[in-house]
C-alpha cells in the first residue's frame, strides 16, 4: 500500500483498486464485507495506522445502507469518498440512500466499488447493478480488467463524479477482483481535507442540497440538463472509452470493458485477433457503460455493414439504448446482440465465440472458420461422450460447514427435534448456516435476504398449525434482522421461533468482527485458548432483553441433546410470544487461528498438551452411515470394510479431525451404534501422570485378551 512512484505493484485486482483509492487522495472509506470485495475494506482496516498517517477515515459499516449514507459527506464538502459492497444484494440494501444521494448530487467525488457477483462462482441472485445506475442517474464504470487501466479508472471515477456531480459506481466482476497482475504505482495522496486537517465550520444552509421537495423536482431536471451532459463531455474528452481499429472497418463490436479480455480471446479462437489484442474487427470498449456518449457510439456505427453489442446479463440495457440512439439519428446500420448471444448468463469465451461465429458467418463469409467450428463442435461432442460413459451424473461438491464448525451440531439437533415434534417450516437466511440447505441436512424453505428469515415467516406462521422456525446468524442479526425481524415480531406479538447462531463474526464473508465479537483482551486473557469465547460478549442477549424478549434460551451448540430439547420446547411451549434460542459456539476458523500458534508454542516449550481425536471401531461399525447423515463432517467419511464377510463400507474418522465432539454428542443424542470412541492424546505428560499410566496400563493389559 505504501508503494510510491517508480514502484511496480504485483497482486490482486481488488488490492490494486484499494491502492488506486489512496493514489486518488480519498478522504474516507466505508463499506460492508462480501465476496469478491471483502478484501478492500479488510486491508484498509488492518492498515489503520497508515490510514491515520494519511488522514483517511475508515469505517466498517453495519450494512450497505449505512455505507451509502456515509457518502452524504460529499454532498456539501470537497471530500473524495469511496464505499464498497457486494452487488446486487448490497446495492439493494443501499438503494434508499443512493437515491437520496444522487438527487442533490455531490461536490466531492464519490466512488462506489461493487463486486458484480455474477456468473461462475457467484453466490447471489443474478441481477445487474446497471439498473441502479439508470434509475438514480449514477455513472457506471466497467473497466477493462487490466490493473493499470483499472487504477486509472479509479482516479477518473472521482474526477468524473466531481465534474458531473453524479456518484460513480465501479462494477468489478469476480475474476477481475481476483486477477493477479501488476501496474506502475504513483505516490499516495494525503487528502486536503482529512482527519488530520478537519473542516473548521459546517457548510451554510442550502435547501438545494436536501433530497426534499420542492427541490427534488429541480434535481431531476438537472440530471438531464447538466449532469449527464457534463459526464458525457468528460468521458469523451478524457477518452475513457477505447476505440480499437481493425482491418474490417465496415464492421464493429461494442463491448463492456469488463468483457474485453474474453472478447479478444474469442476473436483469437476464430482467427480474428492475435495474442496482443490486434483485432480484425474494430472494437468500441466501454469502460463507462452509463452514460453512453451518443456521438461516440453513432460515429462508431455509422456507415458500417453491421455492429454487434457484446453485453452480459439481462435486460440488454446498452443494446436497447444504442438501438434508440441510432434510430433517433436515422442510422440504418444493422444492430445485433441478444439475437446472436444468449440473453442470460455469463459470457464466457466459448459462449461468446458461438455468437461471434454467427456474426462472422453472416458478414465475413470469405473468412474461413472451420477450425473454430471444429473446436466448438468438439466441446459438445466430448461432453456428450463423457455423459454417455458415466451411468449417473457426477455428485456435486457444494461448500459445507468447516471441520469442527459449531453450526453443524445445531442442524443435527434440529433433524432429531423434528423427529420428536414433527417437521416444521424453516425460514433460512444468508450466512454459513445456509450450508444447512445442502446434504445431509437439506433444511430450509426460503431465503429472502440477509437477516430476513424472521421477517420472512411473518406471513407463514399465522397460516400454519405447527410453529415455523427462523434461522439467523449474528451477522444477519446486526445487519438487518434485529429491526426487520425481532422488532416487528415483538411489536405484532407474533408466535415465532428464532434461532440465532452466535459464532462471533460474519464468518461467511471472511470472519470480520462485529459488535458482538469477543474483545481482543478477552482472547489475550483466556487461559485455555481452545475454549469458545463468544459467551464473553452478551450484546445480543442484552439487546433482545432490552427490546422485551421474554422467552430466551442460550445453548452451547455442541450440547446436541440440550439443543434438541430446547427446540422441542420452543416448538411446543404454551408461551405464544417470540421465542429466541441463542446457539453459542465460536467460529472454528477464528478459534483455530488462535489455537494453532498457542499449541505450537506449548509444544516448543515442551509443555503438556492434550490433543483430541474421534474414531470409529471398524469391527463395531454397522456400515449404515446414519452417523454421516446426522453430521456431514468432511473428516467423518467411509472406507472399504476390512471385514471380508461384510460388503458395505464402514465409517472412518480421517486425519484433520479437530475433536470437536459432535460424533460423540450425536452417538448419544441419536443412540447411534456404539462404534465411536474419543481418544485424548497427552503430549509431554507430567511425571506422575506417566507413573499412573504405566501402572494402570499393566493392569489393563492383564485384563485384555489378544
Amino acid at each position: 500500500m505504501r508503494l510510491g512512484a517508480g514502484d511496480t505493484f504485483h497482486g490482486e485486482g481488488i488490492l490494486a483498486i484499494t491502492k488506486g483509492l489512496l493514489q486518488s487522495g480519498v478522504a474516507y472509506v466505508g463499506g460492508y464485507q462480501g465476496a469478491p470485495v471483502s478484501h478492500l475494506l479488510d486491508v484498509m482496516v488492518q492498515a489503520k495506522p497508515y490510514m491515520d498517517e494519511l488522514g483517511v477515515h475508515v469505517e466498517a459499516c453495519s450494512n450497505e445502507a449505512s455505507a451509502a449514507a456515509m457518502l452524504g459527506a460529499s454532498i456539501h464538502y470537497p471530500l473524495r469518498g469511496a464505499v464498497t459492497w457486494k452487488s446486487i444484494v448490497g446495492t439493494n440494501v443501499a438503494a434508499d440512500a443512493l437515491s437520496n444521494l444522487s438527487s442533490p448530487g455531490v461536490t466531492g467525488g464519490v466512488l462506489i466499488v461493487v463486486g458484480e457477483d455474477y456468473g461462475e462462482g457467484a453466490s447471489v441472485i443474478q441481477e445487474r447493478t446497471h439498473a441502479y445506475a439508470l434509475k438514480s442517474s449514477m455513472c457506471l464504470l466497467d473497466p477493462r480488467p487490466d490493473l493499470g487501466r483499472m487504477v486509472d479508472m479509479v482516479e477518473h471515477g472521482f474526477r468524473l463524479s466531481e465534474t458531473s456531480n453524479m456518484p460513480c459506481i465501479m462494477e468489478l466482476r469476480i475474476r477481475t477482483c481476483h486477477v493477479r497482475g501488476s501496474f506502475e504505482c504513483r505516490d499516495n495522496l494525503a487528502p486536503a481535507v482529512s482527519t488530520r486537517a478537519p473542516i473548521a465550520e459546517p457548510a451554510g444552509f442550502d435547501y438545494m442540497r436536501l433530497a426534499h421537495p420542492p427541490v427534488t423536482f429541480r434535481h431531476e431536471k438537472l440530471k438531464g440538463e447538466e449532469r449527464l451532459p457534463a459526464a458525457r463531455r468528460y468521458i469523451a474528452e478524457q477518452g475513457l472509452n477505447e476505440l480499437m481499429p481493425g482491418t474490417h472497418a465496415d464492421l464493429g463490436i461494442v463491448v463492456q470493458g469488463g468483457l474485453y479480455n474474453a472478447l479478444v480471446r474469442s476473436l483469437q479462437q476464430l482467427g480474428l485477433a492475435d495474442a496482443f489484442g490486434e483485432t480484425d474487427i474494430p472494437l468500441l470498449v466501454l469502460n463507462v457503460t452509463y452514460p453512453l456518449v451518443p456521438e461516440q457510439v453513432a460515429d462508431f456505427c455509422v456507415g458500417k455493414r453491421a455492429v454487434l453489442v457484446v453485453e452480459e446479463g439481462q435486460p440488454e440495457y446498452i443494446e436497447q439504448e444504442i438501438a434508440t440512439l441510432l434510430r433517433r439519428r436515422d442510422i440504418q446500420t444493422p444492430l445485433h446482440g441478444c439475437d446472436m448471444l444468449p440473453p442470460a448468463g455469463e459470457l464466457g469465451v466459448e459462449v461468446m465465440a458461438g455468437g461471434l461465429s454467427t456474426f462472422a458467418a453472416r458478414y465475413l463469409q470469405q473468412h474461413a472458420q472451420d477450425s473454430a467450428g471444429d473446436w466448438l463442435d468438439g466441446n459438445q461432442k466430448r461432453r456428450a461422450e463423457v455423459a454417455a460413459t458415466l451411468d449417473a451424473p457426477l455428485p456435486a461438491r457444494p461448500p459445507s460447514f468447516c471441520i469442527g464448525c459449531p453450526e453443524r451440531p445445531v442442524f443435527s439437533a434440529l433433524k432429531l427435534a423434528q423427529q420428536d415434534s414433527g417437521p416444521v417450516h424453516i425460514a433460512a437466511d444468508i450466512g454459513c448456516h445456509a450450508f444447512g440447505t445442502f446434504e445431509p441436512f437439506s433444511m430450509g424453505h426460503s431465503i429472502l435476504g440477509y437477516g430476513m428469515s424472521l421477517a420472512s415467516r411473518a406471513g407463514v406462521s399465522p397460516m400454519m398449525q405447527r410453529r415455523a422456525l427462523s434461522i439467523m446468524g449474528d451477522g444477519g442479526f446486526w445487519h438487518n434482522g434485529l429491526l426487520t425481524g425481532v422488532q416487528s415480531a415483538l411489536f405484532n406479538g407474533d408466535d415465532a421461533v428464532l434461532l440465532i447462531f452466535k459464532n462471533g463474526y460474519t464468518s461467511a464473508t471472511g470472519t470480520q468482527d462485529i459488535i458482538s465479537t469477543p474483545d481482543d483482551e478477552v482472547k489475550e486473557r483466556a487461559v485455555d485458548k481452545q475454549q469458545s469465547l463468544v459467551d464473553k460478549n452478551n450484546t445480543i442477549e442484552s439487546t433482545l432483553k432490552g427490546l422485551g424478549v421474554q422467552w430466551m434460551r442460550t445453548v452451547h451448540t455442541y450440547h446436541v441433546d440440550t439443543m434438541r430439547a430446547t427446540l422441542n420446547e420452543a416448538f411446543t411451549t404454551s408461551f405464544n410470544g417470540l421465542k429466541v434460542i441463542i446457539a453459542e459456539g465460536e467460529c472454528q476458523l477464528e478459534r483455530q487461528r488462535r489455537i494453532k500458534p498457542w499449541i505450537a508454542s506449548l509444544l516448543k516449550k515442551g509443555e503438556r498438551v492434550v490433543r483430541v481425536k474421534y474414531g470409529v471401531d471398524e469391527d463395531v461399525c454397522n456400515g449404515d452411515h446414519a452417523c454421516i447423515r446426522l453430521s456431514g463432517c468432511p473428516t467423518l467419511t467411509i472406507k472399504d470394510n476390512p471385514d471380508p464377510l461384510k460388503v458395505d463400507p464402514v465409517a472412518v474418522v480421517i486425519d484433520g479431525c479437530v475433536g470437536c465432539g459432535l460424533c460423540g454428542a450425536n452417538a448419544h443424542a441419536a443412540t447411534l451404534c456404539p462404534s465411536f470412541y474419543r481418544a485424548e492424546v497427552v503430549q509431554n505428560p507430567k511425571w506422575h501422570e506417566r507413573l499412573l499410566h504405566s501402572l494402570r496400563g499393566a493392569l489393563v493389559r492383564a485384563l485384555q485378551p489378544a
Partner: protein, 532 residues
Amino acid sequence: MNRTQPITLLVCALGGEGGGVLTEWLVDVARHAGFAAQSTSIPGVAQRTGATTYYLEVFPVPLAELGGRRPVFSLSPVPGALDAIVSSELLETARQIGNGMSTPERTLLISSSSRTLTTAERMQLGDGRTDSGRLLDLVKHFSREHHVFDMGAVARDAGTVVSAVMLGAIAGSGLLPFPREAYEHVVGGGKAPEKLGRMAAASLRGFAQAFDIVHSPREQAAMVSRLLATTEQDAPMADQPLPPAIAQLFPPPVHAMLSLGYARVLDYQDAAYAQRYVDRLQHVLAAERAADPAATRGFALTTEMARWLALWMAFDDIVRVAELKSRGSRAQRVHREVRAADGDIVKVYDHFKPGAPEFAALLPAPLAHRITAWDRRRATPWAMPLKVGSHSVVGMASLRLLASLRWLRRRGSRFTEEQVLIERWLAAVLQGTREDWHLGHQIALCGRLIKGYGSTNERGKNNLLHVADHLAAQPGTSAAARAEAIAAAREAALADDAGKALDAALVRHGAPARPVQAQPIRWMKRRPAATP
C-alpha cells in the same frame, strides 16, 4: 498477424488446499523468469471444502522479446483450449473433463488418484461411492498425456500441503519454460537451504517428490500399476483353517467364505453354535445341488449364504461389542489411528447408550417382555448414556465382565427370537431354491439388509422378512419375475432409511407396502384464530 498463443493451465482443488498459494507461486516464478503471466480464481466457492478452480496463463516468449507489447490474457479457462489440467482430487478432474475442458489432442492431465468423498457419496445406507475405475478411464481417454498419483499421500509423506505437491508436478511436467531452480527459489523464498523454515523445507520436499514422479515416467507407471493392483482383491481366507471334517462336507469353491463364516460364529459363541451354522448351510448346499446339479453356478448360492448366515448368526449385542472393544489388538489399532508418539499417553473413552431392549435381550423371555413393555409405556424410551474409559482399570474390567456374559446370551430372549427369524429366512431361501436357483440366490442376498443394532437392525429384519413373505411366494408370477422383484426391492431398501423407495418398489411389484411402524410424535397444534 502474430499467432503465438499463451500456455494455459487449469488448477482444480478443494477449499483450504492452498490453491491460492499455488497460483501465487506460479505467477512469481514467471515474473522472476521475465515472462508475462496472469492468474485468476473464484475463491468465493472455495471456502469450506467446496470444489473450486484456479486459472493461469503464461506467454511463452520472454517480455524482453515482445518489444513493449503485452499479451491480452483470458480470465477464464476455455474448454478445449487448455494445455494442462492439474487436479488434487480424482472426481474433480473428471468433473472438468465432463465440462469439456480436456482434449485428447492438446491437454496434459495431472491428477491425484486420491478421492475426497462427497457428502452425497458418504451418506448412502449401502455403498454410494463413485467407481474410481470409471473416473480413471475418463482421464486416460480424454487427455493427450496423463500422470496419475496419490498427491495426498505424497503431501502427508513430506509433511506439507497438497499445493506444494501440485507445483512439483507442474514443474516436473515441463509445461512451463522455467527451470526447476526457478520454482524452488520461489517456494524457498530465496533463502539458502540451511536457513529455511520448517514449512518451506516441507514444501520443498513435497515439491521434489512430485517433480520426480512426473518427471521420470517409470516411477509413475509403477505408481499407477500399484493403484490398479489395489482395486481388485482375491478371495480372502480366515486366520485359522477350516477343520477338515467340515471342509470335506462342502465343495472347494465354498471353502474360502465358509472358513471365514465358521471362524466368526465360533468366535462369537461356541463350537455347538458353529456346528449349527454348518448344519444350516448343509441344507442350503443340498437345495442348491438339487437346483443346479451340474454346479454351473459354481455354488454361488451356498457361498453367499455362508457369508450372510454367519453375519446374522453373529448378530451384534452388548456382549459382542464389549468383547470387540476390550481386545488388545483394538487398543493398538487406536494408537495407530490417532498417530500417538511413544512418549504420549492415550486415553480412550467409548460412547455407549444401551437401552432397555439391549439389557432385556440377555434375560429370559417373560422377564424381557415385562421390561420392554415398561419401556414402551414411557414417553421417551429409556437409555443409559455411558462414556467408558477403556484405558482405565475400572472401564476395562467392566467391559471384560460384560464380554464374559456370553453364556447368558444363549439363554437370553433375543437369541431365541433371532434363531426363529433366521429359520424363517432360511426356509424362504430353501423353498425359493427348490423352485428356481435365481429366486433362492436373490433371497439369500437379502441377508445384506441385516446389520447393526437397535432400530437399524429392527428395520433391516422387518424389510427382509416382508420381502421374503410377500415377494418370494407370490402366486401367479413366474419365479424369474419374483427373483427380479426381490433384487429390485433389496436395492430400494438401501435407498433411504424411511423406506419410501422400498415401499414404492414393493407396490410396483404387486406386494403390499410395509405396515406403518408406530412412532410417537409429540407435536403441538396451534388453535385457529378465534372468531369474534
